[in-house]
């Protein structure tokens, strides 16, 4: 089943690339949802040889939460806020994709230097998950719209999740559930916050919120 897990990881990498290069917010929501579902599926695929109830339940939960519930929440926010496109990101899309390549190269380098190299199933999981984390951070830094920052956060979370699943295999159920609950709450809070920001200020660009410092 390593091939299936490998496929999941490669698909995640592709969603990263598209996320870096798109201005369309609805597509972004769907991609992030898909990536979450892929992460859940990876969990299942990596442990498919001896599946346990624990793994099954967790994968199902993650696929439902990240793949269905979050996109639903975010799409509703998007509808209410009446926003469709990211306007003028700090880093242009073509440059983002190029930087994404650089980040991919450096994550391959990082994973080769890590003491766990070669122990994981499949071997591509570690560099791709690190790249996913980098992409998430990059999206938070380089995009203006509040919603894209939510994407960044979720992508970062996916990367962390796959990284953890790849090295440790199984994590204690409570830890997984705790992390999932955190993300769940965060998405709801951010959805509500983005909606309110766009209603109060008639935009949803976080760079114009700097007056609220101190």
């Amino acid at each position: 089943m390593n091939e299936v897990a490998d496929l999941m990881v490669v698909l995640m990498a592709m969603t990263n690339l598209i996320l870096l290069g798109t201005a369309r917010l609805t597509l972004g929501v769907r991609l992030v949802g898909a990536q979450g579902a892929l992460a859940g599926a990876y969990m299942f695929a990596a442990n498919a040889e001896h599946p346990t109830v624990h793994v099954l339940a967790l994968s199902a939960l993650i696929i439902v939460a990240k793949g269905l519930v979050f996109p639903k929440v975010l799409l509703r926010t998007l509808e209410k806020a009446e926003a469709r496109h990211e306007m003028e990101p700090y880093v242009p899309y073509s440059a983002s994709i190029l930087l994404g390549m650089v980040m991919l190269a450096s994550s391959v380098w990082v994973s080769s230097r890590l003491p766990i190299a070669g122990l994981t199933i499949p071997p591509s999981a570690v560099p791709i998950s690190i790249w996913t984390m980098f992409t998430g951070l990059f999206l938070v830094v380089a995009r203006r719209a509040a919603l894209t920052q939510v994407f960044g956060y979720l992508v970062l979370e996916n990367g962390i999740y796959v990284f953890g699943a790849a090295i440790a295999g199984e994590m204690p159920f409570l830890v997984e559930m705790g992390a999932l609950l955190d993300v769940f709450v965060a998405v709801f809070v951010m959805g509500v916050a983005v909606f309110h920001i766009s209603r109060e200020f008639e935009h949803m660009d976080t760079d114009r919120l700097s007056v609220l410092r101190d």
């Binding site: 700090y90 990082v110 230097r113 890590l114 951070l137 990059f138 938070v140 830094v141 380089a142 995009r143 203006r144 920052q149 976080t206 760079d207 919120l209 700097s210 007056v211 609220l212 410092r213 101190d214």
Partner: protein
């Protein structure tokens, strides 16, 4: 010792009880007065040769102990602290009657207890606690009227200055304490004389800076002209009269604990004394605010005290006992005297401000006709502070001049130079002080009212007048009966150098008896002349006329010299120091119309040193603050870059 502890408890207990909204001044003021009575008795016993009182109790704080110790020097400072604070409390009870500030009397009692604690503490930690209690309590008293922006600004300046001083003191005690165990003063003094020259020099400099900030030595004086005008008048009286003397107490304590001082110590003290004395009196001359002027005058008097200490130290270095004795005795006398007349003047200034609603000297005039008692006491205070006999201010300066003359006549060039600088500096300071207080008294009390705020001025009630008259009485008492008091003062000095001073003290006492005899004769002569005037005027009609009606067809109050114009020749002479900024007032036409002129003299040290320093620091800080711009993206970028840097560093 029981009485001293009872006095301290009385102060603290009165302060805590005064927090109750119904009690307030009714319990704090009697507390201060009872504490004064209780404390002065043992202090007087110690001063008249009653040995040393001490009491030590353990304290869980590391290095600390409740060690109270009252030797002659402590007692000498304790008496004015308690007496002036009690009189200030009596005055303040009336002054603050309509104030809504509930914690005022709590902090006032705490301030008095803190000052008493400072001069009685014999353990470094205990000392610092008392010192900080004093500083914080006085800070809260300074910002009593915290609804006014200048008052808040003054409080801020004071808070920064006082903590700068405390920081120096902490280093000082850490240096002097050295080893482990409780930081009591006995072992510190025992090792003090044997320590290396460098350590001792550093301790001395730290003491001068740390205690000097409290005492108001130039260039650490910047808080005085801000804090004194801002505080209520009885608080200014206590702060200026006795609180800044705790700084001098610290310097004297360090000076007498380190063995024979090196020559440069004396020169540092004399140099700072000249700087403070001349600088203080010049800036006093240039002020329009009465209380600010009094604050600068405190700087000047601290300068005189330092001149005395410096002269004493130089005399000590050369083993010239007479110079040493006269220098220190003059300084100690001036400490006592300044405590009396400066608090008297601040109380008077408070009465004037109370009656007229302003502190601007250029707005006063003719107050003597309306405020007989305030005028009389203010005149006495002015004469005392200007060093005119028969008041007490003359005595301290007389001893300093005497010491300076003896030093000048010695064969040692350094001693000779020290004496000459003290005499020259003191002469300049005294002359300018006479001009300054002639100006203050003359512009406020003589002539005709310059503005309508004077019209309805009247003396305050007897509760405020009584403390002022008591202080006048003390000033006159010391001025006219100083011979016996010299003997009373000498143990404070001879405690540090036992067995050396009796014959010198006796010689000085007999010399001072002569001074007091003449002063007494002068008072009697004045009384006789006053009686003669009464006799002449009896049965004749007395007519009141305007002041200075000499030949003008229509004299107006605006023709009078104002306080500013009185001082103008002097301030012009010293304009290189003062940098007074005058705007307006130029006459362009043959028939000039209405015109206005105003002048302001900013503090040279503050404007020339501290403000550039602090604004430089602020610029540096603002440059760093650019990192804190509120842009969320960049915050995340900082975190990401830091994490990446750490990751790559760890892996690469």
């Amino acid at each position: 010792m029981t009485l001293l502890v009872a006095a301290l408890l009385c102060l603290i207990g009165g302060g805590i009880l005064s927090l109750h909204p119904r009690l307030g001044a009714r319990v704090a003021v009697p507390g201060c007065v009872i504490a004064a009575v209780l404390g002065v008795i043992p202090a007087t016993q110690v001063l008249s040769g009653g040995g040393v009182l001490s009491l030590r109790a353990e304290w869980a704080v590391p290095g600390g102990s409740f060690y109270l110790h009252c030797d002659a020097l402590s007692a000498f400072f304790l008496i004015p602290i308690l007496v002036v604070s009690a009189l200030g409390a009596l005055y303040g009870a009336e002054y603050m009657r309509h104030s809504v500030n509930r914690a005022h009397w709590f902090f006032y009692s705490l301030l008095v207890a803190g000052m008493a604690g400072v001069v009685l503490a014999w353990n470094a930690i205990f000392f610092l606690v008392a010192w900080e209690t004093m500083a914080l309590a006085s800070f809260f008293l300074v910002v009593t009227d915290d609804d006014q922006a200048p008052v808040r600004e003054a409080g801020w300046v004071y808070l920064v200055a006082t903590h700068f001083g405390t920081a120096c003191l902490m280093i000082l005690f850490a240096l002097a304490g050295g080893g482990s165990g409780p930081l009591d003063f006995d072992p510190m003094i025992a090792t003090g004389a044997g320590a290396s020259t460098w350590t001792l020099g550093l301790v001395f400099l730290l003491a001068v800076v740390g205690f000097g900030t409290k005492a108001g030595i130039v260039p650490f004086h910047v808080w005085l002209p801000e804090a004194h005008p801002a505080a209520p008048s009885h608080v200014s009286a206590v702060m200026s009269g006795v609180m800044i003397k705790t700084g001098i107490y610290g310097i004297v304590r360090v000076l007498t604990s380190c063995g024979v001082p090196p020559l440069w110590w004396g020169w540092v003290l004399i140099g700072l004394g000249l700087l403070s004395g001349v600088g203080g009196v010049l800036f006093a001359l240039a002020q329009q605010d009465l209380k600010r002027m009094l604050a600068y005058s405190s700087v000047e008097n601290i300068g005189i005290i330092l001149l005395g200490l410096g002269l004493g130290a130089v005399g000590w270095t050369f083993g010239e006992d007479r110079v040493c004795f006269l220098g220190f005795a003059g300084a100690l006398f001036h400490i006592l005297n300044h405590a009396l007349f400066k608090s008297l003047l601040f109380l008077g200034a408070g009465a004037i401000a109370h009656a007229t609603g302003t502190r601007n000297m250029d707005a006063f005039g003719g107050l003597f006709k309306r405020m007989r008692h305030t005028g009389g006491t203010f005149l006495a205070g002015s004469m005392a502070i200007a060093g005119l006999p028969p008041f007490n201010g003359f005595i301290g300066e007389f001893l300093l001049f005497l010491g300076g003359l003896i030093a000048v006549m010695s064969a040692q060039p350094a001693l000779c130079g020290a004496g000459a600088s003290v005499i020259a500096g003191l002469a300049l300071i005294s002359g300018l002080a006479v001009a300054g207080f002639t100006r203050a008294f003359g512009s406020a009390f003589l002539g005709e009212p310059r503005s309508e705020c004077v019209e309805h001025a009247h003396d305050p009630g007897w509760r405020m007048l009584l403390p002022m008259w008591i202080l006048v009485y003390f000033c006159l008492l010391i001025g006219t009966s100083v011979g016996p008091l010299a003997a009373y003062n000498s143990p404070a000095w001879s405690a540090a150098w036992p067995g050396k001073t009796p014959e010198i003290a006796f010689a000085v006492a007999s010399c001072l008896s002569c001074v007091s005899l003449w002063a007494g004769a002068f008072v009697v002569l004045c009384l006789l002349l006053a009686g003669f005037r009464l006799l002449l005027l009896r049965g004749r009609s007395v007519r009141q006329a305007v002041t200075w009606d000499c030949g003008y067809a229509a004299p107006a109050a605006r023709m009078q010299y104002t306080a500013s114009s009185f001082a103008q020749p002097l301030t012009d002479m010293f304009r290189t120091v003062l940098h007074t900024k005058v705007s307006g007032g130029a006459i362009a036409d043959v028939f000039p119309g209405l015109s206005q002129s105003s002048s302001v003299t900013a503090d040279a040290v503050r404007a020339g040193f501290y403000q550039p320093l602090f604004s430089g620091v602020l610029r540096g800080v603002i440059a760093v603050r650019r990192l804190q711009h509120g842009n969320l993206h960049l915050y995340v970028l900082y975190i990401a870059l830091t994490l990446l840097f750490l990751l790559f560093m760890e892996l690469g």
